[in-house]
């Protein structure tokens, strides 16, 4: 009896370990922050006193934030500070960008970085939170914005080709993930201008709803987080689940849209605010808006 119990226990344990290994192999952690981002906090060396002596008072040491990484070539990059636009900068031909924020109050800040590719498609916001220490320069480096992604159809027949495209840093390796009951991963290489394209054959997909998303690895080895997830239907049409979160149509998702959401809280006076079409404006709609936030 005891021996049997021991065997049963061992079997259950083996199955748990087995499942853990399967999940690790398929990298199921879909939303976790990944990549090569790193934070360093350093004290800037004060400038030496001028020769000749006298009553020299050293200047106060500034509290500064430096944010640097890769986006897409020759586009503008928007940096958010606690959800508000802090600055907009340009990426160079190799997609590198760098911004410096001075005069910042020490404390916990959430920064966001997003960009619009050369076709005007927005990336999702890459967000990170850090504790800014007084008198120190905090450098956040190794950021690689997720690629932009577009699909040419949202409904197609099985066997048709779904064109998936976007932009990333030049010559990056792009992994395209199509979610059906089984995850299908395809790879392609971005051109020198960062544009990428993959013609996905839908033959292996079952009829129904599917999603696609992408992530990239730059030539220097920086890895991005996942792009926005786009949905498409094979064989049968399904209603679109998530509506646009830019309620007032000004191409931004910011405090104005948030104000409209608050005004419609509960039972929506305006159905456009009920992003997930469940008949109410609640925390889930708020969460959807925050995902698409541009500041």
């Amino acid at each position: 009896m005891m021996k049997n119990f021991k065997n049963y226990f061992l079997l259950i344990l083996i199955s748990i370990i087995l499942e853990g290994l399967i999940l690790t192999f398929y990298n199921v952690q879909a939303i976790a922050i990944e990549g090569t981002v790193n934070i360093t906090a350093t004290v800037e060396e004060p400038s030496p006193p001028p020769s000749g002596g006298g009553g020299w008072v050293p200047p106060p040491i500034a509290t500064k934030v430096i944010i640097q990484g890769k986006a897409y070539p020759l586009i503008s990059v928007t940096v958010l500070q606690d959800g508000k636009v802090a600055t907009v900068t340009n990426a160079d031909s190799q997609a590198n960008f760098r911004v410096e924020i001075t005069d910042i109050t020490p404390g916990v800040w959430t920064f966001g970085v997003w960009a619009e590719d050369k076709k005007g498609v927005k990336s999702i916001t890459f967000s990170f939170t850090t504790n800014i220490i007084s008198g120190m320069t905090t450098t956040i480096s190794g950021i690689f914005l997720p690629p932009t992604i577009e699909i040419d159809k949202t409904f197609l027949q099985r066997g048709e080709i779904l064109n998936i495209l976007g932009q990333t840093a030049p010559q990056s390796e792009v992994s395209i993930i199509v979610n059906s009951p089984e995850e299908i991963i395809k790879k392609t290489k971005a051109e020198t201008d960062g544009t990428w394209f993959y013609g996905f054959d839908t033959t292996p997909l079952e009829e129904g709803s599917h999603t696609s998303r992408a992530k990239a690895t730059s030539l220097e080895g920086l890895s991005s987080t996942f792009s926005q997830t786009l949905g498409f239907n094979v064989g049968k049409r399904m209603p679109e689940v998530i509506q646009k979160t830019d309620i007032n149509g000004d191409e931004k998702v910011n405090l104005v849209d948030f104000s409209i959401l608050l005004y419609n809280w509960g039972i929506p006076k305006n159905p456009a605010v009920d992003f997930n079409s469940d008949g109410k404006v609640d925390l889930r709609d708020f969460s959807i808006m925050l995902y698409y936030w541009t500041g």
Partner: protein
């Protein structure tokens, strides 16, 4: 062979049980309190941090509902200072009578936990300030726990709820005062001499809200004790407590609008906008009237003078 077959029959259900025991996708979050225990004497004022561990997932929305032993503890205040939540859909409220505290807020772009090299703690949602009441008899335990209605949503574009684990706190309240009661909150308030962060006021008009009337929006944070309230003043009117979005009384936009953000320590930051439209120049009408009256008088005097001649 028969023996192997029967053994195999037993193995399959056990494997299924094993798989079921291990959650397939563990998109989890932990809401917890810091400190989770402590010993206080009657009259002490102490702070409890509400924190989150996202377990390497990205989240963007938190609703926390907590209950506390209202007969032993008095919830004095809630501090959103240094919170990762920057937009609030439910401002923190304390209901002392029912012993409930609740709030809901979000992080634009999401929060994914600590990055490698992060120098400090960055997972604070807010602080509850409690004062212990007098207890009779022996020492007593006071509880603070999260209610099941608390939720955390993933930053995935669908508002998917994260699998949530909560950890409450138990505090021991001593029966008698051994020394002068401590007040952690007072110390915190005295340290805070920095006003709230600068912010922008924007005037908008959209058919989606306030029946297309003009309103203002504003938002700021305070990294020390947190924002307490906002006040709005139109022209030379009185300061009125309000929040964003705020419907303007003067729809002509002819007056200056001021918004004052006040933190828990009383530090203020005032921002101004407008007037957008110049007020009607009434002085021109007065000038025309004076000119007209003057001209009439002149004409009358002139006629009178001519007649007398």
């Amino acid at each position: 062979m028969k023996n192997y077959s029967s053994k195999f029959k037993n193995v399959i259900p056990l494997l299924i049980i094993g798989f079921a025991l291990f959650p397939a996708i563990t998109f989890a979050a932990i809401l917890y309190l810091d400190p989770s225990s402590g010993e206080y004497q009657p009259g002490d004022v102490f702070m409890v941090d509400i924190k989150i561990d996202t377990e390497e997932e990205c989240i963007n929305t938190v609703e926390a509902n907590l209950s506390f032993s209202q007969d032993i503890l008095k919830a004095v205040d809630f501090s959103p200072g240094n919170s990762i939540l920057t937009l609030w859909v439910k401002i923190p409220t304390i209901d002392q009578e029912s012993g409930l505290i609740s709030f809901a807020g979000g992080i634009p772009g999401g929060f994914c936990g600590k990055l490698p090299g992060e120098p400090g703690e960055i997972n604070l949602l807010g602080k509850i300030i409690f004062q212990t009441k007098e207890v009779s008899g022996e020492q007593i335990s006071a509880e603070l726990e999260f209610l099941e209605s608390s939720q955390v949503l993933l930053n995935d574009g669908f508002g998917t709820p994260a699998k949530l684990t909560t950890r409450g706190a138990v505090f021991t309240i001593l029966a008698e005062k051994l020394e002068t009661p401590e007040d952690e909150w007072k110390e915190e308030l005295e340290k805070d001499n920095i006003p709230p962060e600068p912010f922008k006021i924007e005037i908008h008009q959209t058919p989606e809200i306030f029946e297309g009337k003009y309103f203002i929006i504003f938002s700021t944070t305070d990294k020390q004790t947190g924002i307490d309230y906002y006040e709005i003043r139109e022209g030379k009117g009185d300061w009125k407590i309000g929040q964003s979005p705020y419907l303007l009384e003067n729809q002509e936009l002819a007056e200056e609008i001021k918004v004052k953000a006040v933190d828990k320590a009383g530090n203020e930051k005032i921002e101004t906008i407008g007037p957008i439209k110049k007020p009607f120049p009434y002085w021109i009408i007065v000038l025309i009237l004076i000119g007209g009256v003057g001209y009439c008088l002149y004409r009358k005097l002139k006629i009178k003078y001519q007649k007398s001649k």
